[in-house]
């Protein structure tokens, strides 16, 4: 309470505040503060604010700003409502976006597009496709752009078959000629869903010569799914068509060890006959020391199902483990964690933290009331005497 007494109340805000220029500087917090003190924003200002919040992805700010819009005169402006939908979907809250969408009476095409795309971008493609159905049920005619968002939704929902059907319907039902973007959209559905080989075949069946953009798209999907051979090939194709896209100093791809898929040799992989099926003695020792689950070719590894007992035990977890767990989920990989404990670290925790330091790949420094423990690579500086 002392703090409250201490906080000096700021003197009232200056009578005129240039919210627009604050927006231009990107000072959302300050604009919100001013609005809290009764300064009214105009449509232009709201538009800028929505844009800023969408970019910063700060849902809390977004909600506040939206709140002020609802209290303002321009609350029923369709353009602004659409911007709010966009803002919420960028901030990851489709529930809020949907609420706004549902309240807009005179929705235009943009509203639908923003919603469908918002669902797609937030991994809710199914909802997006449902909305597209609703849109058609309401008698709205999808346009060229609509299909781009529908494809996004399909990509997000693993809906490959549907994407192709929608593509068909585009021409057959709505008389829309398919353009480059639509082909790219369809390619995106395959690419984003990880159907890379299918995507490559799709390109070979395109009714036109693939452009650099097509190869670039496939290259990006190859990057996403980690297919470096495809990435290299598509990059070469892309650069062949558009040399400006060449990347300097690219690390050459390491050669693959085996090319079973294409080598056409039958039954000549006889290495198993001469390779030791069991481990070498020294490997045995190493594995025993590491105790990592070794790959045993003949038995499936069993996933560890954490049973009830273990869960109850988790409830009894000592405070240092909780602190470590929190440290782990709050910091980047491999940063050391420093834990301070008011009592001695117990033997069980000491043992556990030692192994933990190895599996999480971090230095764990625990200061208890007796001494320091620097855990690293499965060892502790205290030499196990504490």
């Amino acid at each position: 309470e002392a703090q409250v007494v201490h906080n000096q109340v700021q003197s009232g805000p200056p009578p005129t505040v240039d919210l627009i220029s604050l927006c231009q500087e990107g000072k959302v917090k300050e604009v919100i503060q001013h609005m809290e003190q009764g300064i009214v924003a105009d449509a232009q200002c709201f538009e800028m604010l929505f844009e800023l919040c969408a970019n910063s992805k700060k849902l809390e700010d977004a909600k506040k700003v939206h709140d002020y819009l609802l209290r303002s005169k321009c609350r029923s402006d369709l353009g602004l409502s659409n911007k709010v939908i966009n803002m919420y979907s960028k901030c990851g809250s489709m529930t809020d976006a949907r609420r706004v969408f549902d309240h807009v009476r005179d929705r235009n095409m943009d509203s639908w597009h923003l919603m469908i795309n918002g669902y797609a971008l937030n991994g809710l493609g199914d909802e997006g496709l449902t909305l597209y159905d609703q849109m058609r049920e309401l008698g709205m005619k999808p346009n060229e752009e609509t299909f781009l968002y529908v494809f996004e939704a399909c990509a997000s929902a693993d809906a490959i078959d549907e994407a192709f059907m929608h593509f068909e319907s585009m021409k057959a039902e709505y008389g829309i000629a398919s353009q480059m973007e639509h082909y790219l959209g369809l390619l995106g559905v395959l690419g984003k869903c990880g159907h890379l080989a299918e995507a490559e075949e799709y390109i070979s069946k395109l009714p036109f010569e693939p452009t650099a953009a097509v190869w670039e798209a496939l290259m990006n999907y190859a990057r996403i799914h980690g297919d470096i051979d495809l990435e290299d090939r598509t990059e070469e194709l892309m650069v062949g068509l558009d040399p400006s896209k060449a990347v300097a100093n690219k690390i050459p791809t390491p050669p693959p060890k085996k090319q079973l898929a294409i080598n056409m040799l039958e039954g000549r992989n006889r290495v198993a006959e001469f390779r030791n099926p069991t481990l070498f003695k020294d490997d045995e020792k190493l594995r025993a020391a590491m105790k990592e689950q070794a790959y045993v070719p003949d038995t499936r590894y069993v996933l560890h199902d954490i049973d009830q007992e273990a869960k109850e035990q988790a409830l009894l977890y000592h405070s240092e483990r909780l602190a470590i767990a929190y440290g782990l989920i709050s910091t980047p990989a491999r940063t050391p964690l420093r834990i301070i404990k008011n009592l001695r670290v117990c033997g069980d925790c000491h043992n556990a933290i030692k192994i933990m330091s190895r599996i999480v790949g971090r230095e764990l420094i625990v200061r208890d009331n007796k001494r320091f423990h620097h855990f690293k690579d499965g060892k502790c500086s205290c030499g196990d005497y504490w």
Binding site: A2, Q3, V5, H6, M290, K291, E292, Q293, H304, I306, A310, K311, Q313, A314, L315, L316, Y317, H318, S319, E320, R321, L322, A323, I324, A325, Y326, G327, L328, I329, S330, T331, L337, R338, I339, I340, K341, N342, L343, R344, C346, G347, D348, C349, N351, A352, I355, M356, R358, I359, V360, I365, R367, R371, F372, H373, H374, S381, C382, G383, Y385
Partner: protein, 445 residues
């Protein structure tokens, strides 16, 4: 000085305010002996009206009462004073803090017409000295918000809070701040920095600070040696010790605590004994209980209980519970229940409320499979009303200290924390970890 004053009075010379200030602060330094004289002086000053009219005398009176622990009187005098200046207020804040009365200290602080760096420092330092570190840091933040430039005294207080909390993030921030300040070469500030890094387990940075210091005091050397020692860098600690001798510093008792701790950490029994001997013979330092403690620990770690007991036998002071605890820990390793029981008897006399050694004893029983013994200890603890202190672990993330107790679900991210723990426990088992619930499940928490 007192007799001089009596002479002065007898000779009829009117004492002026300077006399009083001198005398009063003289009294303040000896609270035990000068209590009555101080009050008498105050009475005399009162008669002359000096205490209310002269701000310096008044302040001195308050300071004196504060140091006597008589805050009631201090407050009375404070309220009676006609003229108060900043120093008077600061003295009040400091007085309350000195006596652990935070509420009033903050109250006075808030009532102050004007707060300077000394006021802030008094408040922050007060919290830190009373072990309320987080509050200290909070007020430091407040001070920053108010744009008051801290001085080196403030810094030392704040660093001490960080050292105790082990908040590396804030410490790094402070270090940057200090680096840009005019007291960046202040020896004491740098000593505090070394201390803070050592206590955060960040020994590399501590060494860096130490190596960059222009001037070093004995405390600098002690800090780095002790820091290295407790962090398990025994060899480096001993190296720094040699360096220190080369630079002509005379080691003191604290230095040797560091050196001996280093030896006990690394299990260097012979070396430790050599240093212990040197300390006594060459440097003529009478070993204190903590030095004996190190030697006992050194022997105990090596499993040489008889030698450890020999040290206790021959040392001139009574062993404390820490020393006995060291041996008790050795008993666990040797599974010597008889000695453990016997030690416990003494430990209990020394520290009837202590929980950790009871737990240790119970674990020793458990380790040798004597469940009855273990449960007896637990029952005894219960009967004595000894409660296991709750274990609290803290971790600083982005400058925010997060505290946890066992089974804690209060954290806002509790769900994720437990999910991570569950996953981790699975991976631990995959790595061959076996829960050791027999021996030490309830040692701490």
């Amino acid at each position: 000085a007192v007799s001089e004053f009596t002479r002065m009075r007898i000779s009829g010379v009117e004492p002026n305010h300077v006399t009083f200030v001198t005398l009063l602060s003289g009294c303040a330094h000896f609270p035990a002996e000068a209590m009555s004289l101080g009050s008498a002086l105050h009475g005399y000053a009162r008669k002359l009206g000096l205490d209310t009219r002269n701000v310096k005398v008044g302040t001195a009176v308050i300071d004196m009462y504060a140091k006597f622990g008589l805050m009631g009187f201090a407050k009375l005098s404070f309220d009676c004073m006609g003229v108060k200046n900043k120093v008077t207020w600061n003295t009040m804040v400091d007085g309350y803090m000195r006596n652990g009365d935070f509420k009033n200290a903050v109250k006075v602080f808030d009532e102050m017409p004007e707060r300077d760096v000394v006021s802030w420092t008094a408040l922050i330092g007060g919290f830190v000295k009373n072990g309320i570190f987080e509050e200290g840091l909070m007020w430091f933040r407040e001070m920053q918000l108010h744009g008051v430039e801290p001085d080196y005294v403030t810094m030392i207080s704040v660093l001490s809070a960080c050292a105790n909390l082990g908040t590396l993030g804030i410490s790094l921030w402070l270090h940057r701040f200090i680096f840009g300040s005019r007291f960046k070469d202040n020896v004491r500030v740098n000593n505090s920095l070394i201390d803070v890094y050592c206590r955060c387990g960040c020994i590399e940075l501590a060494c860096q600070v130490f190596d960059r210091m222009k001037d070093r005091s004995l405390i600098s050397w002690n800090s780095i040696i002790v820091g290295l020692a407790v962090n398990g860098h025994a060899v480096d600690a001993l190296q720094y010790f040699d360096l220190m001798l080369n630079e002509g510093f005379q080691p003191d008792a604290v230095t040797f605590t560091g050196v001996l701790t280093a030896c006990s950490h690394a299990g260097l029994v012979e070396k430790g004994l050599k240093y212990f001997k040197e300390m006594k013979r060459v440097y003529r330092i009478t070993p204190r209980i903590e030095h004996y403690g190190c030697i006992v620990d050194l022997y105990s770690r090596a499993g040489r209980v008889e030698d450890a007991l020999g040290v206790i036998k021959n040392m001139p002071v009574k062993p404390n519970k820490v020393i006995l605890g060291s041996i008790l820990a050795a008993c666990r390793n040797l599974s010597d229940v008889r000695l453990a029981e016997w030690l416990m008897h003494y430990i209990y006399e020394l520290d009837p409320e202590g929980d950790s050694n009871h737990v240790l004893l119970s674990n020793i029983y458990a380790a040798v499979g004597s469940w009855r013994g273990a449960s007896t200890v637990r029952k005894k603890m219960k009967g004595l009303g000894i409660q296991k202190r709750p274990g609290i672990s803290s971790i600083e993330i982005d400058g925010v200290l997060n505290e946890f107790v066992a089974g804690d679900r209060s954290h806002i991210h509790a769900e994720q924390i437990y999910a991570m723990l569950e996953f981790l426990s699975g991976e631990l088992r995959a790595s061959g970890y076996v829960v050791d619930d027999v021996s030490e499940l309830y040692e701490c928490g």
